[in-house]
Structure formats: C-alpha cells, structure tokens
C-alpha cells in the first residue's frame, strides 16, 4: 500500500467518524441550537477530512482545486445557513435549552 | 441479472406509490408531490434500462429524454403550484371537496 493511500484511508475514516458524530448530535441533542452546533461543526470538519483524503488521490491539480472549492462552498453556505436558522428560531421565540 | 433490475422495480414501485397517493389524497399540494414521485419512477425505469449495456457507455437517448423530462416536470409543478394558490384565494382551501360515495 502506498503511503498516500494509507493517509487517504485514515482521513476518510476520520471524516466518516465526524459524519457519524454529526448525526448522533442531530438525533440526541435536546434543542435546535445545540443540534445546529453539532451538525455544522461535524459535517464541515467531516467533509473537510474527506476532501483532503480524496485530494491525495486526485489525478491533477485542477481536480484538487475543484475538491477544495466544493468544500469551501459547503463551509460558506453551511455556516451562513446555521446562523440564519438559529436567528429565525430565536425570533420565533424558541427558548434555548437549559439544564 | 444485476442490480439494474432492482432500480427498475423500485421505479415501478415509485410510480404505483405516486398513483395511489394521487388517487387517495384530497389535498392538492400532496397530489402535486404524488405526480412528481410518479414522474421520478418513470425516469428511474428509463435510465436503469438505458444502463443495460455490458460495461459500455449507457444509451444516451433515454438520458436526453429524462433531462427534458426533469425540466418539463419542474415547470409543470410551478404551474400547478400557482394554480393551487389561485384555488386557495378563490375557494378558501386547497382541498378537493369531500366526495360522497352514497
């Protein structure tokens, strides 16, 4: 096994773990704000790790660039959408969860 | 026999599911969703059958048909949704009148 393949495997597994964590957070956290937190952090880092892992196998620099561009787009929209949904929820009067 | 037939059967299932919902629901918005799902079933059958080439490139003709189909479906959906809004403003609700079978 090539060294780059080894790193790809590690990165993809780590990415998959973050996706799993995001889903668990989505299912288990108590209110919309905490779920947002779990999901945006997890899927951004998860996708980032996956993109890095796949970029190691990319056939050209242009492809690496496209992969990074995809990740940046998701980062941008995910972060903004998280803000927008949280803002809308707050305006609706949904109380943050308190222990 | 390969998994393409699986997708074909899923396509048939989606078509029937959509048809059933189209008949049974009185809510107009749901009827529109049902028609869309029926359409997806048909597209699925077409594309799955187009991929039945052993290892070669799939048949491009059904692909082209499905692409036009997707765009036509979205424009028809937009028209139907506008119609539903219109019905709601005129009648006050977006359901079919209740049917009495007696």
């Amino acid at each position: 096994m090539l060294l780059s393949e080894f790193f790809t495997v590690i990165l993809l597994l780590a990415g998959a773990f973050f996706f799993l964590a995001g889903t668990v957070g989505l299912l288990r956290f108590p209110d919309v704000y905490t779920r947002l937190h779990a999901l945006t952090k997890a899927d951004n880092v998860g996708l980032g790790l996956m993109v890095l892992g796949l970029a190691l196998q990319a056939e050209s620099w242009a492809m690496t660039g496209k992969l990074i561009l995809i990740w940046l787009c998701v980062l941008l929209s995910s972060a903004s959408v998280a803000h927008l949904i949280a803002n809308a929820a707050r305006k609706k009067g949904i109380e943050p969860w308190k222990q | 026999m390969n998994t393409l037939y699986l997708y074909t059967i899923v396509g048939v299932g989606l078509f029937t599911l959509g048809l059933y919902a189209l008949l049974i629901h009185s809510d107009l918005l749901r009827k529109i969703l049902a028609i869309n799902i029926m359409g997806s079933g048909v597209f699925l059958i077409l594309v799955a059958l187009a991929a039945r080439t052993q290892g070669a490139v799939p048949d491009p003709v059904p692909h082209a048909m499905v692409i036009t189909g997707i765009v036509v479906a979205v424009s028809a959906t937009a028209l139907a949704l506008a119609l539903v809004i219109r019905v709601r403003t005129k009648v006050g609700h977006a359901n079919l009148p209740e049917q009495s079978l007696e």
Binding site: C73, L76, S77, S80, L84 | N2, L4, L6, I9, T16, L17, G18, L19, Y20, A21, L23, I24, H25, S26, L29, R30, L33, A34, N36, I37, F43, L44, A48, L49, A50, A51, T53, G55, V57, D59, P60, V61, H63, A64, I67, T68, I70, V71, V72, V74, S75, A76, A78, L79, L81, A82, I85, G92, A94, N95, E98, Q99, S100, L101, E102
Partner: protein
C-alpha cells in the same frame, strides 16, 4: 460498470449499496406522501430528490444527475416551501391538525369504504405485476439507437452524446420542451397578480452569502454551458443553475428594475426559442432540412443555440418561481 469489476466483494458491496438506496427511495416516497404534516412531507420530498441524484450517479448518468441536482436541490424545494408559506399565510386560523390528512373516500359507510379500498388495491396490484412483468421481460438491449448515435457523433459537432441527442439528433424534443417552459410561464402569468409575500431586508449574513454565491452560480452555469459539448453539462444544466441563481436573488429581495420588466424581459424569455427556430429556418433557405446542421458549423451553431437557451431557461425558471406576472407600469 458491473462488468468491469470482476471482484465478487465489489459486486456484493454494490448490491448492498443499491439495495439500501432503492429501499430508502421507496420509503422516502411513501413517507413524503403519507406524512400528516405538509412541511414534513416537503422536507422528505427534498431528501428524496437528493437520493435520486445519487441514483443517477450510480447509474452512470452524469448529465441527468446534474440536472436533477440543480433542480431538485435548488428549485423544487424553494418552490414548494414558498407555496406552502403562501397557502398557510392565507388562513392562519385553521390549525394544521384540523385539516390534517384528509383523504378521498371519506365516507361514513365503512363497508363501502373497505370495498372501494380493496378494489383500488386489486387494480394497483394488477398494475404493478403487469409493469414488473413488462420491464423484466424486455428483450436485452438492442444497440441500434446507441449505434446510430455513436456512428453519427462525429458529424454532430459535439462529442458528448447526450448533448448531441438533445441539440442535434432529437432537436425537436428540445424545441418543444422549451416551448413547454414558456407555456407554463404564460399559464402562471395568466392567473394574474398574486399578493406579494411580506419581506424584510436581508441581514448582513444573507447579504454577504448571496453576494458570494450568485456570481459563483453564474460562473458555474457558464462552465456547464461550455463543457456541455464534450463532457456532462449543457443548456439544461447551465440553465437550471442560472435559474437557481435567479431564485436566490428573488429570495434575497431583489426585483427587476421596472424599466426592464416589460419588453426586455419578454425578449430574453423567448430568446432561446427564437435563436433555435431561426437557425433551423435559415438552414431551410440554405437548401437543407429543418434543423439539419451542416457538420462543419454544427459545433458553433449548437454552442450559439445552447447559450441562448441557457439564458432563456434560467430566466424562465426564475420567473416561474416568482409566481405572478412582474408588475410594470401600464401607459395610460
């Protein structure tokens, strides 16, 4: 794809993946149609569209996947959510629970209800078995059409077979399809004005997001238009992405300047169809058949037609989203 990988483990994994995806599709379709809450149904339908795009990827139909991704992820969801908002805004007094899940066949007579339900089931079962029988006993792929396409691909002016079929071999389909788009828009406009939704100003975050995303979307639409001749992409994909950019603009609160709403907008809407038809008609005068492109200029012609079509499809889709004719001052 199946034939290329001889590894049994790979085949097994594919089978697992496909089975899961197929069941997920059926389950999502069922839940989207049966769930009591309309909003929930729409979210499930959006997820259904996402999975459909993954299926197209699996079936090696990248052109279809691109169109489905742009329309399913961008346009249909936004259309449905906006319509739902309009419907709910109309009568807020009626709670969702009251009107929840009304179905046809609402009758007090239980016997009659059961009987009609059973009949429906029998008919549907017959339909399913007939359809399954039909698709499973279809003769193995005859390669005639595909052969015809690949044999004539060189003279079509493009090297992406799907684009060749759409714009050259079966240009009629595309022509009529664009007319359908226009007709749908005319239909929507004929319903007259629809009260505007209450709109607040976009906050700084949404403002920044749209400022970054919309130029990117327009560039990507151009990219799909350009690569469409020899890679997946083309007028429909580019047009859908452009349409999504338009929808985003409209959602943020942007409206077309009143000066451009009248004639200029209408010219852009029919531009694609106009270029398509005039190219075809001009060819008749040059002694060829309707829509028979001479191979030497076919590539350039197709690019020209596709560029016009992308613009028109994009603007038409955005106008369809707006619902109701954009108002313009009538001259008294």
């Amino acid at each position: 794809m199946e034939a290329m990988t001889s590894l049994p483990l790979m085949t097994l994994m594919q089978l697992l993946f496909d089975t899961l995806l197929g069941f997920a599709l059926l389950w999502l379709g069922w839940r989207a149609l049966a769930s009591p809450d309309l909003f929930q149904a729409i979210v499930l339908f959006i997820a259904f569209g996402l999975l459909m795009a993954i299926v197209w990827v699996r079936l090696d139909a990248p052109d279809v996947a691109l169109a489905e991704a742009a329309i399913g992820a961008g346009l249909t969801g936004a259309l449905l959510l906006t319509t739902l908002a309009r419907l709910e805004a109309k009568n807020r007094s009626k709670s969702a629970l009251e009107k929840k899940h009304k179905v046809w066949l609402m009758t007090e007579n239980v016997k009659l209800k059961t009987a009609s339900f059973l009949w429906l089931m029998v008919i549907l079962m017959l339909l399913v078995s007939g359809l399954v029988y039909a698709v499973l006993t279809l003769q193995e792929q005859t390669f005639e059409l595909q052969m015809l396409v690949s044999k004539n691909l060189e003279s079509s002016g493009v090297s992406n077979p799907v684009t060749a079929v759409l714009l050259n071999f079966r240009g009629y389909d595309t022509l009529l399809e664009m007319s359908v788009l226009l007709l749908a828009l005319l239909g929507v406009w004929s319903f007259g004005g629809i009260p505007k939704p209450h709109e607040s100003l976009p906050g700084p975050v949404l403002n920044m997001l749209s400022r970054l995303l919309i130029p990117l979307l327009i560039i990507v639409a151009g990219y799909f238009l350009w690569v469409g001749s020899d890679a997946p992409g083309g007028a429909f994909q580019g047009g859908s992405v452009l349409g999504a950019a338009g929808v985003l603009l409209l959602l943020v609160g942007w409206r077309l300047c009143i000066r451009f709403v009248g004639l200029p907008l209408r010219i852009i809407l029919v531009f694609g169809l106009g270029v398509f038809v005039s190219a075809a008609v001009v060819l008749i005068f040059l002694g060829r058949q309707f829509m028979e492109y001479p191979p030497s200029v076919a590539g350039a012609l197709i690019l020209l037609i596709e560029a016009a079509a992308t613009l028109s499809i994009g603007i038409t889709l955005a106008a369809l989203f707006l619902v109701g004719r954009p108002e313009f001052r009538r001259h008294k």
